[in-house]
Amino acid sequence: MENLTLPKDKLPEMLAEIAAKFTLIGPKEETGFTEFQEIDNPKDINLDYLISRVPPKSLFFQQTETLFAFTKGKKAKVETPKIDPGKRIIFGIRPCDARGYALLNPVLDGQKEGDYQDPFYKQRRDRSTLVGISCNEPDVNCFCTSFDIGPASTKNLDLLFTDLGDKYYIDVITKKGEDLINSLSKLFVKATEEEKKDRNKVEKTAVASITRKMETEGAVEKLGKMFNHEYWEQISRRCIGCGICTYLCPTCHCFDIQDENTLKEGGRIRVWDSCMNPEYTHHASGHNPRPSRMNRVRNRVYHKFNYYPKNDGDFLCTGCGRCIDYCPVNIDIINIINDVKEIEL
């Protein structure tokens, strides 16, 4: 299908139709920040935001998930809960968060020999259509261009809307996106060459306004050589172990499993966990392979920039900048990797 445009004043109509036919999830502002929620009234959608506070990984990889329900005793039973089928259209995803999904796929939906799949993540992802929005004005700590994407990148999305002022330019990227367009009434117009040029201009301006860059070239090899360097001690001294970086990161996926029940029945639930917590690797015997903050901060940096690349080929980072924006002690991942490049061994 060719690319399309949609006049801006028709957007509420399109969203209302989606909300009526499917489930619409979009960015809503409440209590001073934006998060992805189910939208009934398209007026609730707030597109003035740049990125949501909590990343949209929470839509597929939910914070609390019941893995199975059980009844105890001699007649014990275990049962996987049904996830209700129904199409979800997620509107307003930024290209960096879309890359986050692509990075979570090898972990939660691994396709290599011997990998297991998480049915909850998979089912939710399979029945969702991702409609992205380009970032016309990136923020200070955006560095998505340091990875293979940009503020108007079409990677990992089904449709991409770019704001051209009075209309949206729509890149139709996958079959899923095409199906969505076909199922909506004819509000769209084929895009002209002129409009395509406008869209590229918007992209170019946005890319130029991204000032911070992470030097990722050679990071994997360099990190492999400096595991015991004193740099990690210096950089982690001020870490207070709050874990905000892990909760707000679109690619962090560590989780905890606990049983929660009443006397006879209950469920095994999965909740987000953080490697910054000392209990994370605490053995029952009392031994803790990562006893100090230095070990944990170093492990986080290595997981993102050395271990995951070695196992699955790409950096486990999307360049969204949330960890830099919300770290209370200003631990700056861009500076860390750039420092790593400069350090002489």
């Binding site: 001073g32 200070v140 905000i244 200003n330």
Partner: protein, 328 residues
């Protein structure tokens, strides 16, 4: 306000002492209005220390964060002191921890700085968004902040940028210190509990609706707990599994339990530094809860936390003449 040169001199003096391991203070961050905690192990590193209205972080969390790792055979534990740069509220935190026997007063060297209030990072970010270059802020004599960005200085009334907790700060001067930088501040605010009165006038239904809205957003990241200088329990009640007090699943019921229980565990201990509210990524107005409890504590026990090193912690002691008419 404090003179940076005087501060650096005091830090150099402290770090040169034989019995001091390192000194913790503030230095310039990596972008915009950021300030990062700095650790000076020698006099050279001390030169980077600064103090400005942007230095909001409560450094009193660090002395308790030091890990006691197992030692190699033959090595002795390094029991030297730690120097900390403290504002009024930070020093109260240290005093409160000393009261509870969490630290010994001799283990820390306090470099006190009288403080007229710090800037709320959310407010200044809203006023001057997308700052890449490092900016500087000073306070002038007429209650304005002078914000210098890229060479241009903007004058902003203090009221528009100051942190809410600092509005009613009763202790601008450090209550305990070994070295004092600059001179003590004469005018002191009076605690009027204005944030609490907001809630007190609402009906019960309105209050539940208000807090339900906020607690349902809580993501249980526990940043409030880690940022708080007084949350230093080795095993927090919310991490315990035997027995389990608060479940780990994230829903309104458990989130309410966590936030309310934390406020109760801080009764008679919270020193109103506002770090919890600053750290919270989902904007929960935690100081309203803490201030509410503080108001009750003052009314019932006429007790203020973190003032007197020799005082006994409020809820950790029992006097024979405490009222018991509700028991017998």
């Amino acid at each position: 306000m404090a003179d940076n040169r005087e501060l650096i001199k005091a830090v150099k003096e402290t770090v040169s002492r034989e019995d001091v391991k390192y000194v913790i203070g503030y230095k310039k961050g990596t972008y915009g209005f950021q300030i990062m905690p700095a650790f000076a192990y020698d006099t050279k590193e001390a030169e980077e220390f600064i103090f400005s209205p942007l230095c909001a972080k409560n450094l009193a969390t660090y002395p308790k964060l030091e890990e006691k790792l197992p030692l190699r055979r033959g090595d002795k534990e390094d029991t030297r002191k730690v120097g900390v740069v403290v504002k009024g509220c930070d020093s109260r935190a240290i005093v409160q921890i000393v009261q509870e026997k969490g630290l010994k007063r001799e283990d820390v060297v306090l470099i006190g700085i009288p403080c007229k209030g710090v800037i709320d990072p959310k407010k200044i970010d809203k006023m001057f968004p997308k700052q890449r270059e490092l900016a500087e802020v000073e306070e002038d004599e007429s209650n304005n902040y002078l914000v210098t960005i890229n060479g241009k200085t903007h004058k902003v009334p203090k009221n528009e940028l100051i942190s809410d907790v600092c509005r009613s700060c009763e202790y601008p001067n450090p209550v305990a210190y070994d070295i004092l930088i600059g001179s003590e501040i004469e005018e002191v605010e009076v605690e009027n509990f204005e944030r609490v009165e907001n809630l007190e006038t609402k009906s019960l239904e309105e209050r539940w609706a208000y807090w339900e809205n906020h607690f349902s957003k809580c993501i249980r990241c526990y940043a409030c707990r880690e940022a708080c200088p007084l949350c230093y329990c080795n095993e927090c009640m919310v991490d315990l599994l035997e027995p389990q007090w608060v479940r780990r699943s994230v829903n309104l019921s458990e989130n309410t339990a966590w936030n309310v229980m934390r406020a109760f565990h801080l009764a008679g201990r919270c020193i109103s530094c506002g770090e919890c509210e600053r750290a919270c990524p989902v904007n929960i107005p935690l100081m309203e809860l803490n201030k509410f409890v503080e108001k009750e504590v003052r009314a019932m026990f006429d007790y203020t936390s973190g003032i007197d090193e020799e005082a006994k912690p409020l809820l950790g002691m029992f006097k024979p003449d405490d009222p018991e008419d509700f028991i017998l």
